[in-house]
């Protein structure tokens, strides 16, 4: 199938939505667009698997390579491997769930759905890019819609959070840009094509200089310590669907970029800086977990726990073993689904009770059973209960991390594994207070349970979490070869035989 469809379809949706007169029409169009996106992605998954089953071993499938700016050797080069397919699927699921939970968005509803769809264009484009220029283009494409979504429809300190997010992400882009130019001019022939750059890596000295730019730049997107500060503010101020997108997809752009651009294109520097990445990731994991314990606002709880969970992604990447990187990819997908579900649940609570403070909530299980179950499952997935996706992903990261030889790496793995206890503390505490416990306020008794659209969104995300939790084989089979390919010049020396 043509990957261009992934860009054309959301763009068409956006254009048609421009013609819509009312919010009602717009949201129907957005829903139809999102459903078709999901179908499209299912077709993509199917045809990808079919190609692989037929024995196609090319690194990237469905490649297209056109000249864009010929004078500068900038190409429109797209293609997917297993990792991209997994992320594309995640995007489609989260976007559809996001449209569903925003169904009752009435204030400036047209603009809301318009921006949400536009964001998905950026995400798809990013995941299919095989050229650094297009990768960067789509990465930046997604910054401004986030700013507007938070600033216009957000709550709390929305203006501050929106600006902080935009500036930090732009700062990340600035670092990435410097890294890009370094790769471009130091390559054998100037160009941005990643397949070419990976086949002929730039010299080790160049890698040493430019790797930090690229990795830190993408790291900002995925809450690399100490650049994580936009995450709590941004997530908690954003409207529900934007939080879902931010935590579910946007942070994954960073992890994906770290792997695709930094690790893959600069293998020597990746080995050299591996310990720094592991150290920062471990700090993020522990710091995020302990910071979450102190939070009283449900959205802040989930945002800080996202910092911690994305730390696992970075830990897996930093360990540079095939299993650990596979785990990192699994964690990106798993965390994307789980955090989107969590934000959806928090959004449902907030819409009804108008508070997100744990102290003002209680006993929701009796009032809103469906929503409470969603909340509990998201929490359990977050603390890594077997049978849900979080367990599979984190377990794989730990297995892979342990394979890396060296005392420091073992210690980091142990520390990261120990953080799960902290996760259990804050999750169980929040769940215990909000879901069980006595009813906090009398007027909460009259609240209604989730409506059809919210139920659909939750079921969609739950299905993903459970599917990965019970049958991880298909996802591992999809992503493991890509992880091996990304590490083809890095990982071999580090994996024990």
């Amino acid at each position: 199938m043509s990957l261009n469809l992934l860009l054309v379809w959301p763009l068409l949706t956006v254009l048609v939505m421009l013609a819509a007169k009312t919010v009602r029409q717009t949201r129907v169009l957005a829903l139809m667009g999102a459903v078709c996106q999901l179908l499209l992605c299912a077709v993509l998954l199917y045809s990808y698997q079919a190609e692989r089953a037929a024995g196609n071993t090319a690194a990237f499938l469905f490649e297209e390579n056109h000249s864009w700016y010929a004078a500068l050797q900038i190409r429109y080069h797209i293609g997917v491997d297993g990792m991209s397919v997994a992320m594309i699927l995640l995007t489609a699921v989260v976007v559809l769930a996001g449209v569903l939970v925003s169904w009752r968005q009435t204030v400036l509803g047209r603009e809301f759905f318009f921006l949400l769809m536009f964001l998905s264009v950026g995400a798809y484009g990013f995941f299919i890019s095989l050229d650094l220029f297009t990768l960067f283009f789509f990465l930046e494409l997604a910054v401004i819609p986030k700013f507007l979504l938070i600033g216009i429809w957000g709550s709390g300190q929305k203006n501050y959070s929106a600006m902080k997010l935009a500036l930090l992400l732009m700062g990340g882009s600035a670092l990435i840009f410097v890294g890009l130019t370094g790769l471009y001019f130091n390559a054998a022939t100037p160009g941005f094509d990643m397949t070419v750059l990976a086949a002929h890596p730039v010299s080790a000295a160049t890698q040493r200089f430019f790797f930090p730019f690229l990795f830190a730049g993408f790291g900002i997107f995925t809450a690399l310590f100490p650049f994580h500060t936009w995450v709590p503010d941004g997530h908690s101020s954003a409207p529900t669907a934007a939080s879902m997108f931010l935590a579910g997809i946007s942070m994954k752009l960073g992890g994906y970029g770290c792997l695709r651009a930094a690790i893959w294109l600069m293998p020597a520097a990746a080995q050299e800086y591996s310990w720094v990445i592991v150290l920062l990731a471990t700090i993020a994991i522990l710091y995020g977990a302990f910071a979450t314990m102190m939070q009283t606002d449900l959205k802040y709880i989930n945002a800080y726990s996202s910092v911690s969970h994305c730390g696992f992604v970075l830990l897996g990447i930093g360990m540079l073993t095939k299993t650990a990187v596979t785990g990192a990819i699994l964690q990106m997908v798993s965390h994307g689904l789980m955090t989107a579900l969590f934000f959806a649940a928090i959004g449902m609570v907030y819409d009804r009770t108008h508070t997100r403070l744990v102290s003002r909530l209680g006993g929701l299980l009796r009032i809103m059973p469906f929503m409470s179950i969603v909340f509990v499952v998201a929490g359990l997935c977050s603390l890594g209960l077997p049978g849900l996706s979080g367990f599979v992903a984190e377990m794989t990261v730990f297995m892979g991390a342990w394979q890396r030889q060296g005392m420091g790496y073992h210690l980091a793995t142990l520390a990261a594994a120990a953080s799960i206890v902290v996760t259990a503390v804050y999750i169980l505490r929040a769940v215990g207070k909000v879901i069980m416990g006595p009813v906090a306020a009398g007027e909460h008794l009259s609240l209604k349970d989730a409506s059809w659209n919210e139920r659909l969104a939750a079921i969609l995300l739950l299905a993903g979490i459970i599917a990965i939790g019970f049958a991880p084989g298909w996802l591992v089979g999809l992503t493991e070869p890509s992880a091996g390919h990304l590490l083809q010049q890095t990982g071999d020396v580090l994996t024990p035989h």
């Binding site: 010929a70 004078a71 900038i74 930046e140 203006n159 410097v178 130019t181």
Partner: protein, 473 residues
């Protein structure tokens, strides 16, 4: 012989004919409504723009004083397009003005001066063109006749221009003293790195610096931009800067080719200072015209960064960026001009809640600001990317890092306006503005330009072909 004369001077002649036509009309008819004059002028300017594309020719006239080739024709066409857009944007303001014809007489003679400057092949001719466009512009800055700030702007502009012309002339005379010629081709052969030449070069660069308002020669910019009518400010910030930048490209890369290393240092210092100072001052501006003035100073910093690159990629990136900048900045000024003409409001705070009352205009302004900030998919992203890529081409990573960080700062103040429009409430927002056909069309051209020139690589590739194909001096 006569044919060659007409073909080579085609763009100048068309403009001159329009100019005289307007003069005749002004003298010949007693009472004409502003609407009919304005309509006539727009049509004539459209004809002028279209005529520019017919039969581009290469050649020289007047003993090598005046040259033209495909690239110069393109640059003049870009200016023609900007002229048309500015003129359409000015419609609501001019409709109530007493001296419409005079406005256009001055505007067209300024553009004519730019054309001669672009085609100059001799420092004297260059100076002649420069003065020919600066003096009418100073008069234009005074065209809000009943506002004192407008007069003040004109005064400041004429004084600072005179000063910069003095520096430029001094530099030119030193270069003449060192080489005995003013012809570009001979100059590029005869220049050597001697103290005299370097001093002359610095003075010439200072003259250029004034015209493109590079720091530290920028002090006149904000006051003039604030005081002048919005249409004139738009013209000043886009066309007059663009024209000088068009000339700076061959002068720097070809005439002063020998001085590549000191020129590189000079451009580096100017670029860094201009970016940083422009950005820092733009952060806290409360008047939207002053804000755009400082933002345009910062933009010049990025352009100078591009000029520090190789001749082919750097030159192309600069010319391409001026085209992109024309659409982006005129889009922003178009909205500001409409708001100013309809409500008289020019403070940043007045734009709070603008989206509730004027969604379409808000989007145009937001898109223009995004393009200026370098956000995809708008053309500004491509323009900035190519400028900095050109700068990195010479291994000048310090400049690239400074510029990349400056883009973050710039994003803050552009988003400040967006935040005011979309996210903040206002007890008395700007009332709903009826967009007339002419300003509406101008804004459509700007938005289309911002979308098309970036996503489609044609414009860049075309400029690149012309730049690399240009004959040596």
């Amino acid at each position: 012989m006569m044919n060659v004369f007409f073909i080579l001077l085609k763009q100048e002649l068309v403009l001159a004919v329009i100019l005289f036509l307007l003069l005749m009309i002004k003298l010949g008819s007693k009472e004409r409504s502003n609407t009919s004059t304005l309509t006539l002028v727009q049509v004539l300017l459209l004809v002028n723009l279209a005529a520019g594309f017919i039969m581009p020719a290469t050649g020289s006239l007047f003993g090598g004083m005046f040259v033209t080739d495909a690239l110069i024709v393109l640059e003049k066409n870009i200016l023609n397009l900007g002229l048309l857009v500015v003129s359409m944007m000015a419609w609501p303001w001019l409709l109530r003005h007493k001296h419409v014809t005079e406005f256009y007489l001055l505007l067209l003679s300024a553009t004519l001066g730019m054309f001669f400057m672009l085609s100059s092949h001799n420092l004297l001719m260059f100076y002649l063109g420069l003065e020919m466009f600066t003096i009418p512009l100073a008069a234009l800055a005074n065209f809000d006749l009943d506002r004192k700030t407008s007069g003040e702007a004109a005064m400041k502009m004429i004084i600072s221009s005179a000063f910069s012309s003095g520096l430029l002339l001094f530099g030119i005379s030193l270069l003449y003293g060192a080489t005995g010629t003013l012809q570009y081709g001979e100059l590029s052969q005869l220049l050597h790195i001697t103290p005299l030449v370097l001093f002359g070069f610095v003075l010439v660069m200072a003259g250029f610096g004034f015209k493109i308002s590079a720091v530290p020669f920028h002090l006149w910019t904000a006051d003039v931009y604030e005081g002048a009518p919005v249409a004139v400010t738009a013209y000043l910030s886009v066309l007059s800067k663009g024209a000088v930048l068009f000339v700076l490209v061959p002068v720097l890369y070809k005439v002063f080719a020998v001085l590549a290393i000191p020129a590189g240092h000079a451009v580096f210092i100017l670029a860094v200072a201009t970016m940083i100072i422009g950005n820092l001052f733009a952060l806290r501006q409360q008047n939207i015209k002053r804000f755009l003035a400082f933002s345009s100073i910062a933009q010049v910093g990025f352009i100078l960064a591009g000029l520090s690159g190789q001749a082919d990629t750097g030159g192309t990136a600069v010319i391409y960026f001026v085209l992109v900048y024309l659409f982006s900045n005129l889009g922003a000024f178009g909205v500001v001009a409409l708001v100013s003409a309809c409500s008289g409001k020019e403070a940043v705070d007045d734009y709070k809640g603008f989206y509730r009352t004027n969604p379409a205009l808000s989007w145009v302004l937001a898109l223009s600001l995004f393009s200026l900030a370098g956000i995809p998919p708008l053309a500004g992203f491509f323009g900035k990317f190519f400028l900095l890529l050109a700068a990195a081409g010479k291994g000048n990573y310090t400049l690239v890092i400074v510029a990349a960080l400056n883009m973050v700062v710039a994003l803050y103040y552009y988003l400040r306006i967006v935040r005011a429009m979309f996210m903040e409430d206002n007890a008395a927002p700007i009332a709903r503005i009826r967009i007339g056909p002419a300003p509406g069309l101008a804004l459509v051209i700007c938005v289309a330009g911002m979308l098309v020139t970036g996503l489609l690589s044609g414009a860049y590739e075309y400029i690149y072909r012309l730049v690399t194909a240009q004959a040596p001096l």
